[in-house]
């Protein structure tokens, strides 16, 4: 039966997380990280590792908290509110879930406790120059030669690749067919010859990287899950990762509402607070309408996952949430710029951190066009 409230434990989790980011992840800290070479802060990572955040969705047997996705969502919401840069999503969600789901006992025993402790960061290397999130977008080839795989290709727009110790690498071991199989997952430590990481510069929300792979030799021990059936493992995990990404975007949009309300109440023009102008009110109302749409589509997706809904229904709910979040967060930053006027482009004020983040996450894990196609397929095909 319908229950949209948080438990007491969840309220506490959220309040603690909120206090943490208010304290440790101020706008100044985020700007500093954003302008640092790797877009990564050792000390912040150490702090969140100490309070266990990298372990949130990892099973208890591997030293994780084994929390529900809704609980994890509350953390991501607060991270998004602060615009926190960290490899937590790629390492402790996408890569960790893949290893936990499909890895060998050895792989799990080796990697998961390290990831949970924050002692190892695993970047998630999926996307390529012909950007897309379906299996057909993977062209990096892994050719079997004897008992080895020779891998060549280019991964592009990979976050956290520089700060990572390992990569979760998605490659093609068989030509595309309709079922979307033919992909294989590999776990690769950084030192492998033939792999070169290079920053791709831009006005991006996270630092993004190119991973050029040229005849890198991988072993069978590095294969995660079954050969050629990588996307079957990935798809539900991408959904879970996307739902948490939506929670992060929800937090970012909440910040847009908070900043806009406060600024408009305090900024005086024509002798009155600008919040009393209907034009300014409407910008904020638009933010709040987007906010509530993102909130409830996201919460619904997370709760369906936690409550064990059918994968197909989860897929639809997640795709809908991502469409709403991509559009809502982007539009929300735009409206926040309108509310704030000139100060909104002052780097000191820091609104731009959310602006570029929203535009990067707009496409990450699938843009609205991709997810609309997916929902239409689920509904009508």
């Amino acid at each position: 039966m319908v229950d949209l409230g948080l438990t007491d434990a969840q309220e506490m989790l959220r309040n603690n997380a909120h206090r943490f980011v208010q304290d440790k992840c101020t706008r100044e800290v985020v700007r500093e990280i954003d302008e640092s070479e790797r877009g990564f802060s050792e000390s912040l990572w150490k702090d969140i590792s100490e309070i266990g955040w990298p372990s949130i969705v990892i099973d208890e047997q591997y030293g994780g908290m084994g929390s529900s996705l809704t609980d994890a969502g509350l953390l991501f919401e607060e991270m998004g509110w602060a615009c926190m840069p960290s490899p937590l999503h790629s390492s402790s969600v996408l890569s960790a879930l893949v290893l936990q789901q499909a890895g060998t006992a050895d792989q799990r025993q080796h990697y998961l406790p390290l990831i949970a402790d924050g002692n190892r960061i695993v970047a998630f290397a999926f996307s390529e120059p012909g950007y897309g999130w379906g299996p057909e977008s993977i062209h990096t080839q892994a050719n079997k030669v004897g008992d080895k795989y020779v891998v060549s290709g280019t991964k592009l727009f990979v976050p956290d690749a520089e700060s990572a110790d390992s990569y979760l690498l998605v490659a093609r071991t068989r030509a595309t067919d309709v079922s979307g199989s033919g992909l294989t997952l590999f776990i690769v430590d950084k030192e492998v010859p033939g792999i070169h990481v290079k920053e791709v510069s831009g006005w991006t929300g996270d630092k993004l990287y190119e991973i050029a792979i040229e005849d890198a030799i991988l072993t069978e021990a590095q294969v995660v899950g079954e050969v050629n059936r990588g996307y079957e493992v990935l798809e539900p995990i991408l959904d879970r990762g996307t739902a948490l990404l939506c929670a992060y975007m929800l937090g970012g949009l909440q910040q847009m509402a908070d900043m806009s309300v406060t600024y408009s109440q305090n900024r005086i023009a024509f002798g009155v607070p600008i919040s009393t102008f209907q034009r300014v009110q409407d910008m904020i109302i638009n933010i709040v309408n987007d906010l509530e749409a993102v909130r409830w589509t996201t919460y619904e997706a997370l709760s369906m996952i936690d409550n064990g809904a059918r994968e197909q229904d989860i897929a639809e709910a997640v795709s809908m949430a991502k469409i709403v979040a991509s559009e809502g967060f982007t539009r929300g930053t735009e409206n926040a710029h309108y509310v704030h006027g000139g100060v909104s482009v002052d780097m000191k004020y820091g609104l731009y951190l959310y602006t570029k983040k929203s535009r990067t996450l707009f496409s990450y894990l699938g843009d609205p066009a991709y997810h609309k196609k997916r929902v239409a397929s689920l509904m009508f095909d």
């Binding site: 039966m1 709040v288 709403v324």
Partner: protein
Amino acid sequence: MDFSTEITYSAEQEKFRQEVSVWLSENAQIPAEFKIPRETGDMSHELYNWVREYRKKLGAKGWLAPLWPSEYGGGGLSVDMAQVLEEELSKRKIPAIYDNRLAAPAMMVWGTEEQKQRFLPLINKGDVITWQAFTEPEVGSDAASITTSAVRDGDDFIINGTKVYIGGPFSADYIWTTAVTDQTSPRHRNLGAFYVPADLPGISFSDMELIVNVGKRFVYYDNVRVPGEYLVGGENQGWQVAQTSLEIEHGAGGSIGEGASRDGGVVAALFDYAQTAVDGAGNPLIEDPRIRDLLVEARIETHIVELIALRNYWMFNNQKRMTFHGSQNSLLRKLLAMKLGNIVLEVAGPYAMLNDSNWAPSRGVFESHQRQAITAHHPGGSSEIQKLIMARRLGLSRSKEEAAPTKVA
């Protein structure tokens, strides 16, 4: 959290469902000779009378107001039982008739015990039909600027003025109305709220012809003598009393399950049309990527409104503090209606405007929706009024305000 509106029913619920189902089998069978109209406004007098009688029977069992205390004519049911009742009722396609029950929660908050004892059972048991007439021809959304006057004369009030309201096709027993009781007091402290018997001498009506037959009319008060017992909430409390009605009308209560968007089946008709129709070259519409995107957008926008209504339902029934939430529900529903109208036009082209017996898809649901989306934009506060209220509740306006009190028990 749990968004599922599906329930694992208790044995008690299933027993109650059985009881309801049996009762409905006996009492909810529309005689075959009545034609079910396409739009409520087109209901025949015979069918209307039948529905009224049926509602009285429902009311006698407390099932018209299942959550209300039985002492005020309600069913005194728990939310769980009311849910079962709602499910069973919705299986029978009994046409709704227009009965604005928004006087009831206001009376519950603001009325004297005597008024509650007297009027609430009438409303809750379906014995009377009430129409709400707050606004006036020159007033529109600015409900505080009405000029209809109520001048005290002994224990009575003499009411004069003209109201506009939307009501059902036939007549009302009571008119839930506001009037200026104190010409000298400032806005919001000068009104009275009256529950006026519709048959008092001096009351007359005239129809307006709208693009949807919703029964919009003028009501004229010509020296109508209304005894003081019909004043609810005291002489200068009318604005506050009306706010309680409006808060509920705007959607504070929310709703559960699909259909919260009140789209009149237009999305289902849209999906059906797109999955069966072909374009000029004979290609199925459902294969056109642009059409597919539009369908997904219709689905998402509708689902967002369902979720917002569900949020309100949950907040309302769990006594959460509500601020902008009621108005947001109303605003989004109104905007959705316009968006859906545009999507239908893009997908169905000229078919969107047909009610033709041969050519109209889904028996003219599109055409009816085109008119209704526009018509529904204004009653109960236009989208601009909802924005105004949202801005106040978000703390953006000069005047800060809280939601009006709506709790009934």
